[in-house]
Amino acid sequence: MRYNRPGLDIASHLLLIVGCALFFLPVWIAFSASTHEMGDLYSNVAPVWIGEAGLDNYRHLLEDPVSSLGADVMTLLFNSMIMALGIALGKIIISVLAAYAIVFFEFRFRKLCFWLIFITLMLPVEVRILPTFKVVADLNMLDSYAGLILPLIASATATFLLRQFYMTIPAELVEAARIDGAGPWRFLKDILLPLSKTNIAALFVIMFIYGWNQYLWPLLITTDADYLTIVVSLKRMLTTGDGLVPWQDVTATTLLAMGPPVLVILFMQRYFIKGLVDSEK
């Protein structure tokens, strides 16, 4: 929409600037805090400008194990990355196959299968967390990547979204492929996946962030510092017993934790927006 009213233009820009500032300010304060010595943060008012420590805190965090955690932040980022990628890719693979089966194949209890998947949409992880813990513990998967990833790997949301997309694919396209001699796997590989590229990219972004931000589940099943994830560690860094909270480290870790999701969004932005807005058909 474009109205020919200069006043409106100015007002909307003002609003946008205020909005941006609102989002940016906390990030900036975290950043400036992360560049100070611990002493500065406790002796002064909250700093607004970059401090003298510069990026030393970051280097220190990435290279040396953090005392309250027993692991360096690099390991934490790596663990989070494995978990988030595992969850995102796993969810996509499973959802693609599940939606494919539900939409394109006729089998007994197809409707039932769909509804079973669909109603789990309404159940958050927390509801089934105790039985899930028991299962994972029995499978000896506590303190392992598999334990972090597997329980979160099925997604009703992704299955549902892909199903909705698949249902818009004209039946004639399926039939044309059948006449062209494409079996089920070939149809999936040659036609369905290329067509749902943008949807999958959008799902990947959403699921990656979902996986990256997992808190409760990793908190429950990891005790070994080697499998700590960064989001869980953030909280742990704040509980220091009698000592002072190392705010410069906490803010630096926070910013580092924000990095990968931001990169994923920037990288996938093109597909992501396309996938949410239109479908290429």
């Binding site: 004209p170 006449i179 070939r186």
Partner: protein, 376 residues
């Protein structure tokens, strides 16, 4: 090239709906068969069972004398052109045409050669790198045909391929399909609901209604001798006029002729050999006469021998250039009577016309809608 034989082909859907009630047809090598009928008559279902996209409930389907009921579509050696083209949107024109060949593990250079041949035949050479989205409707249609041609199948199946095109392009593509089919000599089955398309394309025509074959024959045979009232009304444009009529006993008429009495009072003499229709004497019948077979008589000219005279009033005139259609009111008849006149013949609305029906041009249908065979 192949023959296609359908033996008592039946299709019943799982919900119990019977779409096809025992179809018996025999298509010869290189024939272009058009299946025509109103929506829901089962023509698309029939085509889809030929393609193997629908299961056959009962009966046999043979291609070249080999039963193919249980073969997958890809194994039947057929190619299909769909109504909405069903091109793969993410593939180039070349890949769209090559996809079926690749799945059959055709060598690369042969794919290249076959696709370029087909592209040339269809005038698509310049467009091979484009995506379907970047093509016009007619071009997409050509790609869909190209995809069928490159496979060199035994049978082409067309499912209303022209219905998404505008009128002008439709005529053009119709000619192109006809030319292509004659050139490639591939047995083809073409489904349409457009009777003009059906008449112009077909070597032989199948008219379907409610899951039955009403009639199967050459377009002109169907036009000249429609087997039922349904076929008579479906083939020909504008549609045939139907008048209620009663057959009166020959003895009451003029000499040995049986006569047909129309509600408007006119009488039509029928030929002696029509005595087979004894059983329908005094029953209500339907007289069919095509708009182009109603002759206009000058006010003072005599009625041809054996003809019946109808006096009508023109209600509406539709000049088409070459022809003029006059919609006329006839006493005792609710539907307007359509008359096709020479384009030069000037008629005005509300004008009175004298029309003549000659027995040779009249079609007679019984109460069950079947043709009474000896009417002409």
């Amino acid at each position: 090239m192949a023959t296609l034989t359908l033996k008592q082909l039946k299709k019943q859907y799982p919900n119990g709906y019977k779409a096809l009630h025992g179809i018996d047809l025999d298509f010869g090598e290189g024939e272009l068969i058009v299946i025509v009928g109103p929506s829901g008559c089962g023509k698309s279902t029939l085509l889809r069972t030929l393609a193997g996209l629908e299961d056959i409930s009962e009966g046999d389907l043979e291609i070249n004398g080999k039963r193919v009921n249980d073969l997958e579509p890809a194994e039947r050696d057929i190619a299909m052109v769909f109504q909405n083209y069903a091109l793969y949107p993410h593939m180039s024109v070349f890949d769209n045409m090559a996809y079926g060949l690749r799945n059959r593990r055709t060598p690369k250079d042969e794919i290249q050669q076959r696709v370029s041949e087909a592209a040339e035949l269809l005038g698509l050479t310049e467009l091979l790198d484009r995506r379907p989205k970047q093509l016009s409707g007619g071009q997409r249609q050509r790609v869909a045909m190209g995809r069928a041609i490159v496979r060199k199948p035994q049978v082409f199946l067309f499912d209303e391929p022209l219905s998404n095109l505008d009128a002008k392009l439709r005529v053009q593509m119709r000619l192109e399909i006809r030319r292509l089919q004659k050139r490639l000599k591939v047995t083809s089955v073409y489904v349409t609901h457009d009777q003009t398309e059906a008449m112009t394309l077909a070597d032989r025509l199948v008219v379907m209604n409610e899951g039955h074959v009403e009639q199967f024959g050459t377009p002109m045979a169907l036009y000249d001798k429609p087997a039922s009232k349904f076929v008579a009304g479906f083939i020909g444009s504008p549609a045939m006029n139907f008048l209620d009529a009663t057959l009166e006993d020959a003895s009451e008429g003029s000499g040995q002729d049986a006569t047909l009495a129309l509600p408007c009072g006119a009488r039509l003499a029928l030929r002696p050999e029509t005595t087979v229709i004894d059983t329908v004497i005094n029953n209500t019948l339907t007289l069919g006469i095509r708009p182009e077979h109603l002759d206009v008589l000058e006010t003072d000219s005599p009625l041809p021998k054996g003809a019946a005279e109808l006096n009508v009033q023109v209600e509406l005139v539709e000049p088409l250039g070459a022809d003029t259609l006059a919609y006329c009111r006839l006493a005792g008849q609710t539907e307007p009577l359509v008359v096709r006149l020479d384009g030069e013949h000037v008629v005005a609305e509300d004008q009175q016309l004298r029309l003549a029906i000659t027995p040779a041009r009249a079609h007679l249908f019984g109460a069950d809608g079947r043709r009474l065979t000896t009417c002409s």
